[in-house]
């Protein structure tokens, strides 16, 4: 009968462990973690708080740790050279770096990430004159990197490499428009374990996405395993009169996937409007 410790005692221990004292330690740990990431990715370059210039939005408690929507808003006057998104406590913290080209119409980005444990997400913007600006948000989610995200593997494999572009119904040359690019890919993290074969499913993910409008670069994204399956980007660009929006995505097995959508209002209906 005494094999189990009395539940009351256990419950008491748990309550003590979750007391605010621990939260303070957590905050210190989070800061220490960020110091390491700062060194790793930005060396000794100073990083300023972005204040209201860059905002990052994500659900405080994620509903699906393998698919956490993140929206980074950037003050329109602030034309960034690049924007990095980090999930501090993930095995590979740098989720993506976006470099903006001449056809970009603002540096805001929306995407979806995996979150492996309660963590800060950091967005770090690099201005044209080389300043680094950062902002952070805390997300409660766990298990996103090792989660078996693909709900229907057969369907996922059949769709692998398919790219879908969503454009607004009306496009006028020179005025900013929002587009969404979706790349169907399992984005296997290499951390997903197969219980029967007793092996990890090999990493296989999209590592770059290039988007051009009318032949000019909108953005180039370097992406890693913290990006959710079916990588999904929402961004602003400057439509040209005619031409097309081109997407080139490459994965870690060397496969290249491309898709091109004409930049005319009529053609935009081919892929359903936003």
């Amino acid at each position: 009968m005494m094999r189990y410790p009395p539940m009351g005692l256990l419950a008491g221990l748990l309550i003590v462990l979750s007391m605010p004292g621990l939260a303070a330690t957590d905050a210190a740990e989070d800061a220490a973690r960020w110091d390491i990431l700062h060194d790793m990715y930005f060396k000794d370059r100073p990083i300023e708080e972005a204040g209201t210039l860059i905002r990052i939005d994500a659900p405080a408690r994620a509903h699906d740790a393998a698919l956490v929507p993140v929206r980074i808003e950037v003050e329109p006057s602030l034309r960034l050279k690049s924007l990095s998104l980090l999930v501090d406590k993930n095995p590979v913290p740098l989720a993506a770096t976006f470099r903006f080209g001449p056809a970009s119409a603002g540096s805001g980005i929306e995407t979806r990430v995996r979150v492996n444990e309660y963590t800060n997400l950091h967005a770090v913007g690099e201005t044209q004159d080389g300043r680094l600006l950062m902002t952070a948000v805390y997300v409660k989610a766990a298990g996103g990197c090792s989660a078996p995200a693909v709900k229907d593997p057969q369907e996922a494999m059949a769709r692998l490499g398919r790219i879908k572009v969503k454009l607004p119904e009306a496009l006028s040359p020179g005025s900013p428009a929002t587009a969404q690019v979706m790349v169907s890919h399992p984005n296997s993290s290499g951390l997903q374990f197969d219980q029967v074969s007793r092996t990890y499913i090999p990493a296989h993910y999209i590592q770059s996405i290039l988007i051009r409008a009318g032949g000019r670069t909108v953005l180039e994204a370097d992406t890693d395993i913290s990006i959710s399956e079916d990588p999904n980007l929402r961004f602003s660009f400057l439509p040209t009169g005619g031409g097309s929006l081109e997407v080139v995505a490459q994965d870690t097995k060397g496969a290249t996937f491309t898709h091109s959508v004409p930049l005319t209002a009529a053609a935009a209906k081919g892929d359903p409007a936003l």
């Binding site: 009968m1 094999r3 189990y4 539940m7 939005d57 659900p59 509903h63 699906d64 698919l67 929507p69 929206r71 929306e110 979806r112 298990g143 090792s146 989660a147 078996p148 709900k151 229907d152 593997p153 057969q154 369907e155 769709r159 879908k164 607004p168 929002t178 979706m182 169907s184 997903q192 374990f193 197969d194 219980q195 029967v196 074969s197 499913i201 079916d230 999904n232 929402r234 359903p272 409007a273 936003l274």
Partner: protein, 308 residues
């Protein structure tokens, strides 16, 4: 061995034997919903210490020769207690364990049925291989490592691609595998003798449905299920028995509201967070565990429908 002793010398001795073991195996309470068809009702709750992980329905069907076990509960210990419930009700032996799908609250009791063949959807083995370790970790977090100890390795001995019949002796069970719906490995069990359909989690009653497969596919499967000539169903979560096919209505309404709501957000150009904030809100008062599952259902359905 314990089962054999219990059978020979009767319930009183079995009970004494059980009391002497710290890992108590008190038989699970079961209800005979139709002659020879027994169901244990799980709590409508998330697995937690106060329910010991007993959060899904499970049951067994007794034929003239053998017993079929349908789902085994959320921990090895619940499987042992189900085994004791079977021994308390019949001298016949389990000849097959049927897993209605991959979710841990339905399968971790498999450990108590070593040596009994396990039947499941043809996709079950791969689906579980990819998830069982995560499920085990989650159970450890929810109930502690004691509860998760002894979980059996993934085993599916009788994969079901479409239909399979199991003869229990003057009693035929029909096992039917479905395309992706609640999960990509849903299976139903139909007892022709009494017209009883074990739906697994293809039917939720009171507990809000959880989409871990494909909401559109689930709606199509509901249309197929409705034609099964059953008189009663045993849902994966909810009462031990419900009227058929009327019990499908509430779930169909929820999934329809979910799909239509997500489509409206997509058409308006909204994102996942907009959808999570509003979609299916009108269903909130009609279900238990709404906040635990609806946001996830909306997220999954959004990611599904944006490819339409």
């Amino acid at each position: 061995m314990r089962t054999a002793i219990g059978l020979k010398v009767g319930g009183v001795v079995l009970r004494l034997l059980v009391a002497a073991l710290p890992a108590s195996a008190e038989p699970l309470p079961v209800t005979e919903v139709a002659p020879g068809v027994f169901v244990h009702q799980g709590a409508i709750a998330e697995p937690a210490p106060d329910n010991a992980g007993d959060t899904a329905n499970m049951g067994f069907v007794v034929g003239d020769s053998f017993v079929a076990v349908i789902d085994t509960g959320g921990t090895p210990q619940l499987g042992v207690r189900l085994r004791e419930a079977i021994a308390a009700r019949t001298g016949r032996k389990p000849v097959i364990v049927i897993n209605t799908h991959m979710h841990p609250d339905h399968i971790f009791g498999n450990a108590a049925f070593a040596g009994v063949p396990i039947a499941g959807h043809a996709n079950l083995r791969d689906a579980l291989a990819a998830r069982q370790e995560i499920y085990r970790q989650r159970l450890t977090e929810e109930l502690g490592s004691e509860a998760a100890a002894g979980i059996a390795p993934v085993r599916v001995d009788r994969p079901v691609a479409e239909d399979v019949r199991v003869d229990l002796g003057n009693r035929i069970l029909v096992l039917t595998a479905y395309p992706t719906a609640h999960t990509n490995n849903d299976l139903t069990v139909f007892d022709r003798k009494t017209g009883t359909l074990f739906t697994g989690d293809l039917l939720f009653v009171d507990h809000v449905p959880a989409v871990d497969g494909n909401a559109m596919g689930w709606l199509r499967v509901i249309d197929r299920l409705e034609r099964v000539p059953a008189v009663r169903a045993v849902p994966g979560h909810g009462p031990v028995r419900v009227a058929w096919p009327g019990a499908l209505d509430a779930q169909r309404r929820y999934l329809t509201v979910l799909v239509e709501g997500v489509r409206r957000v997509l058409t308006a150009g909204g994102g996942i967070q907009d959808a999570v904030a509003h979609v299916a809100e009108e269903e909130r008062e009609r279900w238990l565990l709404f906040d635990a599952y609806n946001p996830r259902n909306v997220t999954a359905t959004f990611a599904e429908l944006e490819w339409e």
